[in-house]
Structures are given as structure tokens and as C-alpha cells.
């Protein structure tokens, strides 16, 4: 993992202010008045049980959903109403959503092709990413012919191809078995350290969140329970729910957060 991106976009700080989203004409509140700040270059884990609204929040960040209320800013620029196409984010779907009719290389090249980048630039970038993701030689393979772990890295490469300012990952390790998951998790952390793209990772696996994130935000039923560094959360859960949620991992968690003092929006206490 030695090559650095040839043309980098400065990572963006993300500001989420009072964002709410409800489905079914207001009957189903997916995200309720969440406020959060992610400094540039940090990795935030959105943690919570299923139905807590973490995926919806991620999709709002991506521009795949528009919030009913609230504001989303990238580096101070209001992007709330901007569609996904224009947000400059990279998104890794839970199912990878690779294009089955294209090869690995064509998948990775896709975001650059649709932006009409010159062919040699595309070729160089794809090569670069194949090396970075440690999947050199897979370029010509059809995406249906690679393993789960390799597919995940192809999805990641595709997300990173256009040098996004923000990287969003929706349960990226969900479909993999434990060994592979562990390995990839650590590899992702190292990748993040090197690339320093502002990243948001959705997961229900508390061990994973605590192990690799700089910041952890715990969601329950659409509300933000607690947002802090892993170390702080372990030390001070500050809510019964968070404590229960983390209880299974306190024993073996490894915290790799930077430990810097981080700005955190005021956390709502448990209701």
C-alpha cells in the first residue's frame, strides 16, 4: 500500500444539523432531529441496531434521500438539496451493487467514464486503484467471477475512483465471514489512514465500530444517543442503552481512535 492518489481532493468536513426524515407520510420516523459534526479526514462509525436509521442517514449524506428537515453541509457548503450525482461522494453499498455486465476494471472506471475523463487518465487511475486495493490482475475479470472479499474491494475502488471528498460505506463487511471481515476491517483502517478521506461507516457490529473508527455515533430509533471517540464511549456510555449495546464488547475492544479532543454536537440523553 505505497501508492498515493495522484490527484487528491481535500477531504471535506461534514455538518449534519437537525436532520429529520420520515417515511409513510410521517408515520415512520427514520431519522429524528440528528445533529453531528465530522471533522475532515476522520472516520465516523454510525452504530446501532437495525431500524435505528443509520442507513437512512447515510443515504441522506449521499443525496439518495432528501431530508424532511435540517441541513447537510460539506465544508460549510449547503448540499442538502443537491442530488447524489453532484455531491462528489463515494458510496459502497451493502450488496456492492457492482455492474454485472462490466468487468472489474470497467466498474472502477465507471465514475470517470461518465465524467468523460480522457482515456489515459482513466487507465492510469484504474491501475492505481487495483494496486491500492491489492487486486491487481483482476482487472479483466467479470465481477461475477470474483470472491466476496474481492468484490468488496472493487466496490471500494469504484467509490474512490473520482477522488471523492467524502466516502460512505453501508455495512461493507456484512456479507463476509468473520476471518475475512477481521482482515478487511484492519486493512480498511490502514487505507483510511493513508488516504485521509472523510468517511462514514454504517455498522451494527459494535466491535468493528470501536476498533476502526475515530468517532462513533450511536443511534436508536432515529435518535442520536451518543457521539464520541471510542475511548470516551467505552469509559462513559452516558446512557443505559449505549451501555447495554456495548456491553458485549467492552472486554476485547481495541481502540484506535486518535484521542484528539473532538468537537461533538450535544448528545441527546436516552429518552
Amino acid at each position: 500500500m505505497t501508492a498515493l492518489p495522484s490527484r487528491s481532493t481535500a477531504p471535506a468536513a461534514i455538518d449534519i444539523r437537525n436532520v429529520s426524515k420520515a417515511f409513510a407520510h410521517g408515520a415512520l420516523a427514520a431519522v429524528a432531529d440528528v445533529s453531528l459534526r465530522i471533522p475532515a479526514g476522520q472516520l465516523l462509525a454510525l452504530l446501532g441496531p437495525s431500524g435505528s436509521g443509520k442507513t437512512t442517514l447515510l443515504r441522506i449524506l449521499a443525496g439518495l434521500e432528501f431530508p424532511d428537515a435540517g441541513v447537510v453541509q460539506f465544508d460549510g457548503v449547503d448540499v442538502t438539496d443537491r442530488p447524489a450525482r453532484l455531491r462528489g461522494v463515494g458510496f459502497v453499498f451493502q450488496s456492492y451493487a457492482l455492474f454485472r455486465h462490466l468487468t472489474v476494471a470497467e466498474n472502477i472506471a465507471f465514475p470517470l467514464r461518465v465524467r468523460h475523463r480522457p482515456r489515459n487518465e482513466i487507465r492510469a487511475r484504474v491501475e492505481e486503484l487495483l494496486v491500492l486495493m491489492q487486486i491487481e490482475g483482476l482487472g479483466g475479470r467479470r465481477v461475477t467471477q470474483v470472491s466476496g472479499g474481492q468484490a468488496q474491494r472493487v466496490a471500494l475502488a469504484r467509490a474512490l475512483a473520482p477522488h471523492p471528498a467524502v466516502l460512505l460505506l453501508d455495512e461493507p463487511f456484512g456479507a463476509l465471514d468473520t476471518e475475512v471481515r477481521q482482515e478487511l476491517r484492519e486493512w480498511l483502517r490502514r487505507l483510511h489512514d493513508e488516504l485521509r478521506v472523510t468517511s462514514v461507516l454504517v455498522t451494527h457490529d459494535q466491535e468493528e465500530a470501536l476498533a476502526i473508527a475515530d468517532l462513533v455515533a450511536v443511534l436508536r430509533a432515529g435518535h442520536l444517543e451518543r457521539a464520541a471517540t471510542p475511548a470516551e464511549i467505552m469509559a462513559r456510555p452516558a446512557s443505559a442503552f449505549v451501555e447495554r449495546f456495548l456491553s458485549t464488547t467492552r472486554a476485547g475492544a481495541r481502540c484506535t481512535g486518535t484521542g484528539r479532543h473532538l468537537e461533538i454536537a450535544h448528545a441527546e440523553p436516552a429518552r
Partner: protein, 360 residues
């Protein structure tokens, strides 16, 4: 990506020529060229005349070229006589109509497409050749069919087309009716009874004369085919005299398939001269010979004498003498609710009550 670009290129490069093709297909066809150059006319005809007009059209092309130096192409369309008449009324651009019965050309005239006095424009009520209705039977006439009453003997299946759609079928019906009238001293009830019996022996009604011939000849269905004489002769000659035989009944009807110029079309297209000559030339000795060679009875007496062996003498009555013309015949027999509708039912249904018949 390859696929996407391919799809895109294919569609954009295809749309232009396709648009052009569609426009071209819609474009004015058969533009008139009354001056020099080449001219095209359309002859809308009835079913059995395919071979006749194939021969006549090349003869006429030579004649017109010699006469005017202009090249003429005659396009042909064939189908059931009434179906063709309806097509002309619906916009089929016929320069001439050479149909199976006067009634169909009257319909075209009634629609305003041609002069109602069309029949006076050419000799013989605009009938250049005639035919009649005869019986076509299997070789050796195994069922011993010699005349009309034999058709209703038990076990005999008769093939004839549908009078509602086929001109030939209407001639056959009227021939049968006329013969029955003659045998029963003008008793129309007896004639009606005979016709009812006759159609009870018909298993299936083809829409056109040629279809009925094919049913009898190729599919081998039926003991006897009520056919145009020209159809019967054509079938025996083309498909083997050892397979079929023609039986001439004692009396039959003089079937007069007329011809007419379709005034509105020829005036719009500027083809009146060539269209009129096309029909006029049908009466010339050369054309009459073509007709005779294609088994139509020529109206030219010299040519008729030449081909007398092919056309045996039959006692013929006309539609005017027995039925007071086509309009009366159509109204009484073939219109909706007319006698044919009353007597012909699908096999299972019971016969309707007989309405007191008017004279045929």
C-alpha cells in the same frame, strides 16, 4: 460500457435511415406521368383472373408501346370480387376494375368513384368475356353426377364458395336457383327448397372462388365443385386431366364479369387514355384469343368459333331474364336477412320459419 455505446450508436445511426424509409414508404406512390416517360396503372380484379391478366398485361404493354411509344406497367391485385370492390371504395387506387359481377362495380359507382352509366361505355354491357357455372368432378365421375338434381342426392358433398363474399358463388347460387325454377315451372317455393337442400350438402364455404377450387383440388374434399367454367378448365389442364372431369349441366347461367374505368382515379392520376385503351383492347381479336386460351368464353364470335371445341354448348339464361337484374337478386337473396341468410345455417341450428317468398 461497450454495450452502452454500441446501443447508442446503433440507435442514432438507425433512426435517420429508418425515418427516411418510413417517409419514403408514405410518399406519393404512382405519381402520374401522362407525358412521355413511363406510366403505371392498377387493375383491381377478382380471384380467378390471375393467369388471364398475367398474359393480357404483357400483350397490352406491347400494344401500347407500339401505339404510343410509352412504357406501361400494369399492376395487378386479386381477391374476392366484393372484397376488392370494398377495397377500392376504401381507397385502393384502381385505375380499372375488372370484377366478377356488375353489382360490385355498381357499388363503386354508388360511392361516387365512377360514372353510374359505366356499363354503357364498352360493348356487351362492358363484358369482354363471359363464363358459366359447371361441375368439376373426380376423374371417371365415380358418383355419376350429371345435372343439378344429382347434387342433392344423399351422400354427395358439394364445394362452392360463400355467396356473401364470392362473386363466383353468387353466380353458382343463381344458376342453381334458375335451373330449379325451370324444372318446376317457375315455382319459387320449390326452387327455394332445392337451394336449401343444396347448401345442406356444402361442408364448408370458402371466401373466394380460388379457395374453393383449392379445397376441392388440393385438399381432396368434396365430390363436386360448383366452379366458374374457366376455373374448372384451368384446374384440369394444370393439375392433370386424368384427375378431374368437367360435367356440363343441362342449363346454367351466363356469368358476365364486367370491366370499368374508375373515373375519379384516372382523372386524378391522368391515366384515362391508357386505362380506357386497356379495356377497349380486351375486345380485340388478339386479346380475345388470350381470353379463350385462359378458358374464358370470348364475346368475339370469330374467336369463339375457333375455340368451340373447348366451350361446349350450354343452354344459358341470364340474370336479367330470370332475376330482373343484380339489384333485385342482391336484395332478395344475398343482402343481410335475404334468402341465403335464411336458408344457410351452421349445421346444428334449426331452420327458421319460411317467410312467404317474393318472386326471385
Amino acid at each position: 460500457m461497450r454495450v452502452a455505446r454500441f446501443t447508442r450508436t446503433l440507435l442514432t445511426t438507425a433512426i435517420l435511415p429508418l425515418g427516411a424509409a418510413l417517409l419514403g414508404a408514405c410518399a406519393k406512390t404512382g405519381t402520374p406521368s401522362a407525358t412521355g416517360g413511363a406510366v403505371e396503372i392498377l387493375n383491381v380484379s377478382y380471384d380467378p383472373t390471375r393467369e388471364l391478366y398475367e398474359a393480357y398485361d404483357s400483350l397490352f404493354a406491347g400494344h401500347w408501346k407500339a401505339k404510343t411509344g410509352q412504357t406501361v406497367t400494369v399492376h395487378q391485385s386479386h381477391g374476392g370480387s366484393s372484397k376488392q370492390a370494398r377495397a377500392v371504395i376504401d381507397g385502393l387506387e384502381a385505375d380499372v376494375a375488372t370484377l366478377g359481377l356488375a353489382y360490385d362495380i355498381d357499388a363503386i359507382a354508388a360511392a361516387g368513384l365512377t360514372d353510374t352509366a359505366w356499363a354503357t361505355k364498352f360493348p356487351n354491357h362492358s363484358t369482354p368475356y363471359t363464363s358459366t357455372i359447371v361441375f368439376l368432378v373426380r376423374a371417371g365421375n365415380p358418383k355419376g353426377i350429371h345435372d343439378w338434381p344429382d347434387l342433392v342426392r344423399p351422400g354427395i358433398t358439394v364445394i362452392t364458395p360463400n355467396p356473401k363474399t364470392s362473386g363466383g358463388a353468387r353466380w353458382a347460387y343463381l344458376a342453381a336457383w334458375g335451373n330449379a325454377l325451370g324444372r318446376n315451372r317457375g315455382d319459387s317455393a320449390a326452387a327455394r327448397a332445392f337451394i336449401t337442400q343444396l347448401y345442406a350438402h356444402v361442408p364448408t364455404l370458402d371466401p373466394g372462388a380460388r379457395g374453393a377450387t383449392t379445397t376441392f383440388v388440393e385438399r381432396g374434399i368434396g365430390d363436386v365443385l360448383l366452379a366458374w367454367e374457366n376455373e374448372a378448365l384451368l384446374a384440369t389442364h394444370k393439375l392433370g386431366p386424368d384427375k378431374f372431369a368437367i360435367v356440363i349441366p343441362s342449363t346454367s347461367i351466363r356469368a358476365e364479369p364486367p370491366v370499368a374505368v374508375v373515373d375519379r382515379i384516372v382523372d386524378r392520376r391522368g391515366t384515362r387514355a391508357v386505362a380506357e385503351e386497356y379495356l377497349r383492347y380486351l375486345y380485340s381479336p388478339e386479346a380475345q384469343e388470350v381470353a379463350a386460351r385462359n378458358y374464358y368464353r370470348p364475346t368475339d364470335s370469330a374467336v369463339a368459333a375457333q375455340y368451340a371445341a373447348q366451350f361446349p354448348h350450354v343452354a344459358l339464361f341470364t340474370i336479367d331474364s330470370v332475376f330482373h337484374g343484380w339489384h333485385a337478386a342482391q336484395t332478395t337473396h344475398f343482402a343481410d336477412g335475404g334468402i341465403f341468410d335464411q336458408i344457410y345455417q351452421p349445421k346444428a341450428a334449426p331452420q327458421p320459419a319460411v317467410v312467404a317468398g317474393t318472386s326471385p
